[in-house]
Amino acid sequence: MHRFANPARFLRLASVIQPWTAAVTLLLIGAGLYFGLLVSPADYQQGETVRIMYVHVPAAWVAMAAYSCMAGASAVGLIWKHPLADLIAKSASPIGASFTFLCLVTGSLWGKPMWGTWWAWDARLTSMLILFFLYLGHMALLNAFDDPGRGMKAAAILALAGFVNVPVIKFSVDWWNTLHQPASVTRLGMPKIDPSMLLPLLLMGVGFTMFFVTVLLLRVRLEVLAAKIRAIRLTQIHGMPGADPSGEALG
């Protein structure tokens, strides 16, 4: 029965490191914006539109990282029944969905001037769209059951089964020749990208990741509190004689 095993310790830990992650996030993104928008040159091929890269690519990274985090947490939750893992998985999906959305939108905004079309059924684009729907399905499934525990488990299974999509996104450009840019930063060996562009890209990448961590911690705290509130409501309803069962907790 290690359900909610030591939420107090987690809450303490989270509130200690949170200010630091928040500060680092602001710093990195600020620097990234400075270098990306002001210092770095325009691309000789893509012109100024290359600046979209500094939000597009980090958003894509975080979208995939968030999904991996969610799948990992789901596995832990399913196998070891660790309650905190369930809550992490639950907290990760709205953040991941937001970044997937950003990646899709900024990609489209980049695609119109570069490829002349907002959208194409290219392998990477399609798999990214599916990632977005997986996030949506995850969130919908979580909330679709009267028993929150059931929703958590069903969503965990979906998250694990959907994980195959992540390597497909990552390697789709290598496996099929498509419209989309092949990997130039995140490949084995040296990145083949100019340092003046690499710097803001990396700054923004780490900054977005720290942003993810910060918001994730906040959301997990929120979920822990929500679970506590539910538990108190339940004991109120059936444990305390005379308490009026408001029924809200039964949802």
């Binding site: 029965m1 359900r3 909610f4 095993a5 030591n6 939420p7 107090a8 325009a42 012109g47 100024e48 539109t49 600046r51 979209i52 939000v55 597009h56 958003a59 709205p94 953040i95 937001s98 959305f101 950003l102 939108v105 900024t106 905004l109 980049w110 119109k112 001037p113 942003f211 910060t214 918001v215 906040l218 959301r219 705290r221 929120l222 509190l225 929500a226 679970a227 506590k228 509130i229 538990a231 108190i232 409501r233 339940l234 004991t235 109120q236 305390m240």
Partner: protein
Amino acid sequence: MDSLASYFSMGGYAGYVWSAYAITAVVMVALALLTWRGLKGREQELKELQDIIPGRRGRSHDGVAEKG
């Protein structure tokens, strides 16, 4: 002045570049704000609940832990 205007025009692609940055900013700020507000709301709710039930304040942690 001219260079500033040409900077903002982004080589003719201003609409694309700036809207990409704007959407990103809006989504990230909204995400952070909503989460923050949700957290504060829950904290408030929990405090009210524990205030209603005298004597539960100390017990609420193990109450959660034992509940399963």
